[in-house]
């Protein structure tokens, strides 16, 4: 595993930068167009959460190259207020910002592995992995 690159999210347009970089990496690894769209959408959701709910955070990309399979992990790290009730935000339709509330549960369905860790007032770290099929 090597740390590839990251994008700092502060402005709304950083979301676009993050998903463009992510899509580029995904294309290089050899994901198909559908999976590229899934990855770009997942990055968009994670980055938008950073933009909406915290001051600053970053989206990191890692290329995973094991003997048996290749993949890409997207890590969203922020030092925001944290998520109080994780099971609640993972429910469809829950939103504090008037959105659709499909963001995080949607990301979970878009990727193959999904891990979320959050501490009150310390921040949230979300790790999502998508494997090349």
């Amino acid at each position: 595993m090597d740390l590839q690159s990251f994008v700092t999210i502060q402005k709304e347009w950083d979301i676009v930068a993050a998903r463009q970089l992510g899509r580029d990496i995904a294309r290089k690894i050899g994901f198909g167009t559908v999976d590229q769209a899934r990855i770009a959408t997942a990055i968009s959701e994670l980055a938008r959460n950073i933009y909406l709910y915290t001051d600053t955070g970053k989206i990191c990309f890692e290329v995973i190259d094991n003997i048996d399979h290749k993949g890409m992990s997207i890590i969203s790290v922020d030092s925001g207020p944290g998520i109080k009730d994780i099971s609640q935000v993972m429910e469809d339709g829950y939103s504090t910002s008037g959105g659709l509330g499909a963001g995080l549960p949607g990301v979970k369905r878009l990727v193959d592995e999904f891990d979320i860790r959050s501490e009150d007032d310390k921040g949230t770290e979300i790790r999502a992995i998508k494997w090349v099929r």
């Binding site: 709304e12 347009w13 676009v16 998903r19 167009t33 559908v34 590229q36 769209a37 899934r38 770009a40 959408t41 968009s44 959701e45 938008r48 469809d92 959105g99 659709l100 509330g101 499909a102 963001g103 549960p105 949607g106 369905r109 878009l110």
Partner: protein
Amino acid sequence: MDQKFKKIALENSDSIVNMWINEIDSLKNGNYISNVSDELFESTNREFVNVIFKSIKDQGSTKHLEDFSEKLINLGWPLSYITDGLQVFRRVTVDFILSQSEQVDSNYIAQVLKSVDAWTEPIIRQLVNEYSGSWEHIVSLQRVALQELSAPLIPVMDNITVMPLIGTIDTERAKLIMENLLEGVMKHNSEVVLMDITGVPVVDTMVAHHIIQAAEAVRLIGSTCILVGIRPEIAQTIVNLGIDLGKFPTKSSLKKGFTTALEITNRKVVDMNTENQKIEDMIESIGKE
């Protein structure tokens, strides 16, 4: 003290200019403006150094500085040319004044540095301001141009309007889309609006949310909104995200959407040739009887 330094610098301007030009010439090789012709580079250097000396001589006048920076901006010279040039000028001038003085102590050096800085700083400030001002102007113009492109509405037929969307949708653009859509529906009195998202690279929950809101608003004023241009990969991500777009019709292409729109408005596309043929056949069959 300052006056004395100024006198030294101005009296020996020729030798300072020569030293400066030598230094700048060595800077040219290898970096930014290596594709500029030698004559242009030399004449610009001369002009630059004249501008510097002129502004040292009569402090306060900024007219020639403005002219010079305007020229450089129009020619597209990098800002680093100016900052490097002034940096070199400062170094050369300090060196020169120190070499012209008999007794040199730290206090003296400090004073030389202070006055040379005081000469060059206003020039740097002025030129950098001119440069960034021109950049800001360009950016604001482009923003306006982009905004004009961001939510166009095309009335293609009586009661049918198309809004083609290309590129990323952010919050500001989403607002504009909604406004233009509703305004256009009222203005053109359209029964059906086709929103084409073929050119939208990513549809995430935020974009979907705005689309749903816009379609709902269109429904409220009595028209139908059809979402067209949904590519297969976008369809899959929308399903994965669990977004419900079931409240309004969706089609894969603008063509199919347009056919549906015609159906809603009780019209259809008729091929004139076959129609003519039919009429001719009819006339012929009447003639036979």
